[in-house]
Symmetry: C2
Subunit: 304 residues, 2 copies
């Protein structure tokens, strides 16, 4: 029966020594030569079976890709460059070595698409369900990090793509679509850095909890309010295909992994769509057919 | 019913802005000004219910302390200074906000004992069991990191304290003892840095899987062999109290969180106990009553 140390041996063979990482995983800690001019950005994001994926439906490579991409999307949200990652996986007893490798390869492929190497990890087997967490380290690399706290009255509010329906199966046979976009999105790292380099981006987030809730976070951090123009919100085909109120899906579904950002500049329509404006005060309101209504955060919240 | 965002609000109130951390948790990523002269060391270690602790027995504050201390112990193993940490927790549905806070406070207290702030995290609730992972960032801060790969024939092998019986209840009424030392150990950070500053420490690890297995890792990484003198191995009172072959407990039980290190220097007996010597070849042997026997790694290994 394959053991943890067989897996660790295999992992070591996967890892690359780079200029940034003279001692990769395999020791107690990896050693990284941090670029002296760069701020370091760090955060962690996990995926849990039954919450962020369904191990009965989603292949391990897809699950691995999702957890890494969620972290890369956090880098996009701050306009930083992904640098290195470490991973922790809790594997249900009885899963094969092959399953663990597929999970790892999903993370590795997603990371390498952004030159982000996995430099360390911890794998354990237990009687519990599959849980995977990734910690990502990002570099400022010439672009000042964009927080949530800089939005000012008069700034335009922009989103980088159509929203809604990400969590839902479309009925298409193709695995990626079947799984829903939330499993297969592309983190907006390059776009985020392009935007932050070309325009004054005053606040930015990635849309994981839904525009209504995430824009509320920007308003709270920036101590401002926001007005969304219903007619301008780009609604994804998946939200429409699912039926019901497609606009409400676009505003509330979450797991879009597009960016919401604010700027006093007129951002090119090719890069992002203007959906509203920051104003003084607080809270998020929606203007639909000339009528203003409070937009309560109805996006994703886990209860404790 | 309290939700994730109530917990996040509480967490933000816990966090300190420091010279090292101008933007703490609460944004997509925390921003850290990495000290330019320092190598960065990074790794992740998790604890899983039923494997590393038992949530039916151990209080959440103790569980939080253990996972942070395991990571601080990894810093000790490399002789680096703990800097900042991020945490991911998967909480079983129905656990109270109070439980989550206790878990966090356990991590925070353990970290702050070493000036290591928690700067970010991800908390989720699920139908699964309790899993907590901590990623730690350490600084070289004037001491070259010590890997597992530098042991040379003729080096002495040292351990920093008595071994064995860490996992076992002692029957004492006091909570810490009842839980076993594996829940309540003190990471050897200061001792590790003192040793690495005063002596030529050629290889070092913290003892989590048992001396037989962990010394095997040093031998494999350094391409050397090791001879352990049975009469010199310091056996912990808990190993003796448990009954059976106390020496085998000391060599194999694991979760001691003492350090094993190699050095060509004569290290003061007040700091560490010499238990054997590195030699050419490979593998770990035990010399007991003049007879040499192969010491198979019988320490902790999870099977996949």
């Amino acid at each position: 029966m394959p053991g943890e140390f067989d897996f660790i041996s295999w992992l070591r063979g996967q890892q690359r020594r780079t200029a940034l990482v003279p001692v990769p995983a395999g020791d107690d800690l990896a050693v990284v030569r941090w670029p002296v001019a760069d701020l370091l950005l760090v955060g962690v994001d996990q995926v849990l079976d039954g919450v962020h994926f369904d191990s009965a439906v989603h292949a391990p490579r897809l699950i691995g890709a999702k957890v890494m991409n969620r972290n890369l999307s956090d880098c996009a949200a701050m306009a930083c460059l992904p640098a290195v990652a470490v991973v922790a996986a809790a594997l249900p007893a009885g899963r094969s070595l092959e399953y663990a490798k597929e999970l790892y390869l999903g993370m590795q492929e997603a990371g390498r698409a952004f030159d982000c190497e996995i430099v360390g990890g911890d794998t354990g087997t237990w009687a519990g369900r599959l849980a995977v967490s990734v910690t990502i380290l990002g570099r400022s690399a010439g672009v000042e990090p964009v927080t949530r706290a800089g939005a000012r009255p008069g700034d335009g509010i922009y989103v980088t793509g159509p929203l809604g329906g990400s969590l839902h199966l479309t009925g298409a046979a193709e695995e990626g679509l079947r799984a829903g976009r939330h499993m297969t999105f592309t983190p907006r790292v390059a776009l985020a850095r392009d935007l932050a380099a070309r325009y004054r981006v005053t606040a930015m987030m990635d849309l994981s909890d839904g525009l209504s809730r995430d824009l509320g976070h920007i308003c709270a951090a920036s101590k401002v309010g926001a007005v969304i123009d219903a007619a301008r919100v780009p609604v994804h085909g998946h939200a429409i295909a699912h039926g019901g109120d497609a606009l409400m899906r676009a505003l509330n579904d979450g797991e879009d992994y597009e960016l919401v950002l604010t700027s006093p500049d007129a951002i090119s329509e090719e890069l992002a769509t203007r959906v509203g404006e920051i104003r003084a005060g607080g809270g998020v309101v929606l203007v639909r057919e000339g009528r203003e209504e409070a937009l309560a955060p109805r996006g994703w919240e886990h209860s404790l």
